[in-house]
């Protein structure tokens, strides 16, 4: 069959298909309400056939390329994954994320040990030895840290609206800073895990040093109530993102019976769940840190109680949520 006969005989079908395709590409969200689209899969398969014919018969490359373009775009519309953002986000937070953490309990505990271990050792060390903190932080940082938590340095009686205003600025800062750390902890796992390892240990040491040093100076009365509220979410989220980084490293160092590339792609799919969960935890932690931890009018006992409840709730969430129920995925 001559190419021109071939084209004229099918021109109307291509036109109809092209119109549907453009409709789909313009409004990917509203596909189920558009009834003519029910013809789309059938038309798509016919066009696939036309493309194969055009190629095997050696028709001109402009025709085969046009048909290939129609096939490629149709394929993308037909096989794209549908997203139901609200439902999927809720399912992820209520079940998917805690399941992912439990599913990778090994790397999670390893990351937690790499983070909390140095923190604890450094806290004890700095509490005993006043010189130790200078091996980690420079004089200026330490002076700033001390002035931040010096009980005599508190400025009482700030106006309430002014307070809320700066709180929001701090919220923005906490999100940018902490989530940035979490994302880098994850990403640098690709450097054979060395990046994640460094960020976990270094941040553990700094936090531990600050806690030990301030307690030794007798500033614990301002430091501990401040950090107790958001500590559960913030510290655990860093450990979770460390676990995500270690998953990437594990794929490269110990791919098992897979090629490294396959292992990496598989582990990255799991790691991204951990990082996304860590993001949610850190945003929540930033809200607590900016608006609750910094509030000056609340009794320390209340803050400790709140902090303790947060730890309990978080442990319950990570260890219990999403167990058993088969449906949510």
């Amino acid at each position: 069959m001559k190419q021109q006969q071939f084209e004229t005989g099918r021109h109307r079908m291509w036109k109809e298909y092209r119109a549907l395709l453009e409709q789909l590409e313009r409004s990917p969200g509203r596909r189920d309400r558009l009834s003519p689209l029910q013809r789309f899969p059938r038309l798509y398969r016919r066009i696939c056939g036309h493309y194969a014919l055009a190629r095997s018969r050696g028709y001109s490359s402009s025709l085969t390329e046009d048909l290939h373009d129609l096939v490629r775009r149709g394929y993308q519309q037909l096989y794209r994954s549908r997203l139901d953002w609200l439902r999927q986000t809720l399912a992820f937070l209520s079940a998917g994320f805690p399941r992912a953490v439990r599913g990778h309990a090994g790397v999670f505990w390893l990351a937690a040990a790499l983070f909390f271990g140095p923190m604890l050792i450094m806290a004890l060390g700095c509490h005993q030895d006043e010189e130790l903190i200078y091996s980690l932080l420079d004089r200026q940082d330490i002076a700033q840290l001390e002035s931040m938590y010096d009980p005599t340095n508190r400025k009482p009686g700030r106006e309430a609206d002014r307070q809320a205003d700066t709180d929001f600025a701090m919220f923005g800062f906490y999100v940018m800073n902490n989530v940035g750390i979490a994302f880098r902890t994850f990403a640098s796992g690709l450097l054979l895990g060395l990046g994640s390892l460094f960020i976990l240990i270094f941040n553990g040491l700094v936090i531990g040093a600050a806690a030990g040093h301030l307690t030794r100076l007798g500033y614990g009365g301002t430091f501990w109530p401040f950090v107790s509220g958001h500590s559960a979410l913030e510290l655990t989220a860093i450990a979770v993102s460390g676990a995500a980084g270690l998953l990437l490293a594990a794929a490269l160092l110990a791919p098992g019976r897979r090629r490294r590339l396959d292992a990496l792609q598989r582990n990255a799919r799991e790691a991204v769940k951990l990082v996304t969960g860590a993001l949610a935890m850190l945003v929540l932690a930033a809200i607590i840190e900016a608006f609750w931890s910094s509030a000056t009018g609340i009794e320390p006992a209340m803050k400790y109680l709140f902090g303790g409840i947060c730890w309990l709730l978080m442990i319950a969430y990570l260890s219990l949520a999403g167990r058993g129920s088969a449906g949510a995925a």
Partner: protein, 238 residues
């Protein structure tokens, strides 16, 4: 015993090519033309300019003291980490990539999804190391599909979506039947020649047409006329 690979219609067999073939469930070969580092760097430059402009547009927020500073920091956070994710999930590519005619897809040809998009864009920081995407550049040059480290981990490809030469017309000519039957390859070569002739210099047109002198027995512009005649006959008939 070793079975030989089935031929891919003779088009990519044994050739170094930027075409990657994916066979769809319909049994049709999708040809994905992966995009190289230069065009991707250009897309990146456009995106950087857009991001810079957006950050500049956010600066008036600083006038609103604490609340404004907080919003500005959140805006910078979102732009820094989620600018590519947002546009990849919405349009299939960032504005810079769209301007260069590129799109991000999964290895199986489907549009990039949220998990893969987040992976490839968070791992950007590793591709950026030690500075200005050196690691990413090395990775794209080593990998056969021009994938940077983020693409490798996410299983994504960056492809050209625009055809290389969009409009192609065979110049109208009196159809001339070829003097003897032609193989499909020769037919395709003749049609391809006619389609490309508009972009060739007249000397080159003649030179190429004379390669068919064994068939047309003509030289010079007459050879060109003859080949255009065959092309019209092959595509349109008499």
């Amino acid at each position: 015993m070793r079975l030989s690979e089935p031929p891919l219609n003779g088009r990519t067999e044994g050739l170094i090519d930027t075409l990657r073939i994916y066979e769809t469930p319909e049994g049709v070969d999708l040809e994905l033309r992966v995009a190289g580092p230069v065009v991707r760097a250009a897309a990146l430059a456009i995106d950087s300019l857009i991001k810079g402009a957006l950050i500049l547009a956010l600066t008036p927020l600083l006038a609103f003291s604490g609340l404004g500073v907080g919003l500005m920091l959140l805006g910078m956070f979102l732009l820094g980490w989620f600018y590519p994710v947002f546009f990849e999930l919405r349009n299939g590519a960032t504005p810079g990539k769209r301007a260069m005619g590129l799109a991000v897809i999964h290895g199986d040809g489907t549009p990039v999804g949220p998990a893969a998009s987040v992976i490839r864009n968070l791992l950007r920081v590793v591709d950026f190391l030690p500075l200005f995407y050196c690691a990413g550049l090395v990775s794209t040059l080593i990998d056969g599909d021009f994938r940077r480290l983020g693409d490798l981990a996410a299983g994504t490809l960056v492809i050209h979506v625009r055809p290389p030469f969009p409009e192609r017309e065979i110049p109208l000519h009196e159809p001339v039947p070829p003097p003897r039957p032609l193989t499909p390859e020769t037919q395709q070569a003749i049609i391809g020649y006619a389609e490309r002739s508009g972009r060739l210099s007249s000397e080159r047109r003649v030179e190429l047409a004379e390669a068919l002198a064994w068939l047309s027995a003509r030289r010079g512009h007459a050879a060109e006329e003859a080949v255009l005649g065959y092309a019209n006959w092959l595509t349109r008939g008499q």
